[in-house]
Amino acid sequence: MPNSFLVVDDSKLVHRMYRLIFSRGNLAGSTVYHANDGREGYSMLAAHPELSLVLLDLNMPQINGLELLIRRQAERLHLHVPIVLVTTETTAGDELRGRAAGAWDYLRKPFQPSDVESLVARVLAASPAASA
């Protein structure tokens, strides 16, 4: 059964890149949902408890990734779904804040397709609920 993923980013270019990445190699056949801002991302997360992983851009206008994480934690929405924060740069303080808010891990931009593949592999290995 194919895995499903949610990618949240305000850049169209990044979404195009995700589409390419999730259509190749051993990620081919995955179902990918795309959200263009924090609000849309939150709705989609709510609508899909079966997600294997969410890739969430940190820096978005209006509602940024950290705020989304905080809200999810407060509302206890689908806490079993791993959410990885995607960011260009981060300090140790940022990372702590992100993890405290429930981020499963951080992914640095720019990333290569192989970075995403190995991240997915790690996530799937770690969570018993998802099927590989």
């Binding site: 169209k12 270019l13 990044v14 206008p61 940024n64 950290l66 740069e89 397709p113």
Partner: protein, 550 residues
């Protein structure tokens, strides 16, 4: 990512589509910023919005492995941050110019992305930025890294910056919403009080209550004025970017044009301002492309080689009037008439103002020939639509051979509108008083039928009259003759609308039309009256455009 990589090639177009416009806007924005700083004008969050765009360009360039663009964007982000702080370095004149140079370079680097960009020039620029930072000897944001940036929250700066705070505009919207509820509740109290007073008659307590309510009304009005004022921005924030754009357009048209601006300090609600820029730019565009002649033609006509555009704004009893005048060819009215007739429009009895107003019709101005005939180009119908959408009007005056003036009449704010409340078939409607010329008690003898359409004599003119119920589709003929008519006016046109009752004047808080309601033709918004009922706000301009129903 490498340039010979298949993924790079697939995505480079998307990169350009997304980042090139952003880079251009950043470049323009820096020019604008430099101008504002020079003139001491308000910057109003310009820098913050540019930083957001830079961040996106930086991130996308990083994704594509385009180091020159990425590093350049990063350096510009840091430089902006440096200049955006309180007590920004005195040599900020140099800083703003550096930003302008960097903006131009960014556009070039993004354009050259397919070839990878030019690392040498980025390195040069970054060195200049470092030197600037060192010169200004600020104990500083270390260039090259910024901790924990986030792009959402509002900021307040307690020290320096002369009592100015930066507030997210959405907070002002929220304030206005609460004020609106206060106004509604105030109306409810007034209504309830009236009912009590009618029953209870006079008495000391009634008198006290009456005075208290009057005092509360004064306070509410003051509060309303204060809230409105926080939302006001000078129109120069919109006018400001025109000189650069005009330079570009004139250049591409090989014409010489100068722009003279006045009244920049005239203030408007930010919500109106945000939507004003595009239509104005469109008009400027048209003036240069179609109105101003090329230099030779101008000389032959005895005009100076350089054309002049004058843009002015002034406030006038709750409205803002904007004039845009050019000294170009003017409108050719005979050709407009000919075109109108060929399109099947009946213009025999139309007065000159109506004829000129034809250029704002959709079918009309998009006709390819018209751009030469009328001297104006495509898109005027869109401009007119935008202006009307703001609750404003647009008219045009012309002096053949000598030029054209557009006159825009805009409300000061979209948010609260003083309105006349009327009742038709037990439904209530609000009519903004700027659109009400007069309210009149009906006398049946004064109504006459001509060609099956009702008309009446009003202040010496014959104006058409419609039944309010028929106009608004409340269904059926009225049971009793309607007792009043309201003369609505907009853009030089007038019509009487028959109504049952006049319910007085009220400041109504405009609540937008939910999109579920589609685009009902005659309604510009909704509001909640003192009794809690919803009333539709009528749009006189749209009503006056329609044919008079029988």
């Amino acid at each position: 990512m490498r340039r010979d990589d298949g993924v790079f090639r697939e995505l480079i177009d998307d990169y350009l589509v997304e980042c090139l416009p952003l880079a251009e806007r950043v470049a323009d924005g820096f020019v604008e910023l430099e101008r504002r700083r020079r003139e001491g004008a308000s910057e109003d969050g310009l820098l913050a919005s540019l930083q957001g765009m830079l961040h996106t360009v930086k991130g996308n360039s990083a994704m594509m492995g385009l180091a020159p663009a990425q590093e350049l964007a990063h350096a510009l982000e840091d430089l902006s941050a440096l200049l955006g702080r309180d007590g920004a370095p005195e040599s900020e004149g140099g800083g703003a110019a550096l930003l302008v140079a960097g903006g131009g370079l960014l556009v070039e680097q993004v354009r050259a992305a397919a070839e990878g960009g030019d690392p040498g020039r980025t390195a040069e620029f970054v060195a200049q930025v470092h030197a600037f930072a060192a010169r200004t000897s600020e104990p500083t944001v270390p260039l090259g890294r910024r901790g924990g940036e986030r792009r959402s929250a509002p900021e307040t700066r307690p020290e320096g910056a002369a009592n100015v705070v930066r507030v997210d505009f959405r907070r002002l919207d929220a304030m206005l919403e609460v004020l609106g509820e206060g106004l509604i509740e105030h109306s409810a109290v007034v209504e309830a009080f009236r009912r009590v007073a009618r029953r209870g008659g006079a008495g000391e307590e009634i008198g006290d209550l009456d005075r208290a309510i009057v005092a509360m009304e004064k306070t509410m009005k003051r509060l309303e004025a204060v809230v409105m004022e926080t939302r006001l921005l000078p129109i120069s924030t919109v006018f400001g970017r025109f000189p650069r754009q005009l330079r570009d357009i004139a250049h591409s048209q090989r014409k010489r044009v100068r722009l003279v601006v006045s009244g920049g300090e005239t203030s408007l609600d930010k919500a109106v301002l945000d939507r004003l820029g595009e239509p104005l730019l469109h008009l400027l565009n048209n003036a240069v492309v179609h109105g101003i002649e090329d230099p030779d033609e101008r000389l032959r006509a005895g005009k100076p080689e350089e054309g002049t555009l004058e843009l002015s704004a002034a406030s006038q009893s709750g409205r803002v009037i904007i004039h845009l005048t050019d000294d170009g060819r003017g409108l050719d009215e005979t050709k407009i008439l000919a075109e109108a007739e060929s399109l099947g429009l009946d213009v025999r009895s139309a007065d000159p103002a109506r004829i000129r107003a034809l250029i704002f019709l959709p079918g009309f101005s998009t006709a390819a020939q018209v751009s030469q005939l009328a001297g104006r180009g495509v898109g005027l119908d869109v401009v007119a639509g935008s202006i009307r959408g703001l609750g404003g009007t647009i008219e045009v005056e012309s002096r053949p051979g000598r030029g054209v003036t557009f006159v825009l009449d805009l409300p000061l704010t979209l948010a609260v509108v003083r309105s006349l409340i009327v009742e038709v078939d037990r439904e209530r409607y609000a009519v903004p008083i700027s659109q009400v010329a007069e309210t009149v008690r009906t006398e049946p003898e004064a109504m006459r039928q001509i060609n099956g359409r009702g008309v009446t004599l009003w202040r010496g003119d014959l104006i058409p009259v419609s039944d309010g119920g028929a106009l608004l589709g409340t269904g059926g003929r009225p049971a009793a003759p309607r007792r009043f008519f309201v003369v609505i006016s907009s853009g030089g046109r007038r019509r009487g609308v028959l109504v049952d009752r006049l319910m007085g004047h009220q400041d109504v808080v405009v609540k937008g039309l939910d999109r579920t309601l589609g685009r009902p033709e005659m309604v510009s918004g909704t509001t909640i009256l003192g009794d809690g009922r919803v009333a539709c706000i009528l749009d006189a301009a749209r009503i006056l455009e329609r044919e008079v129903p029988a």
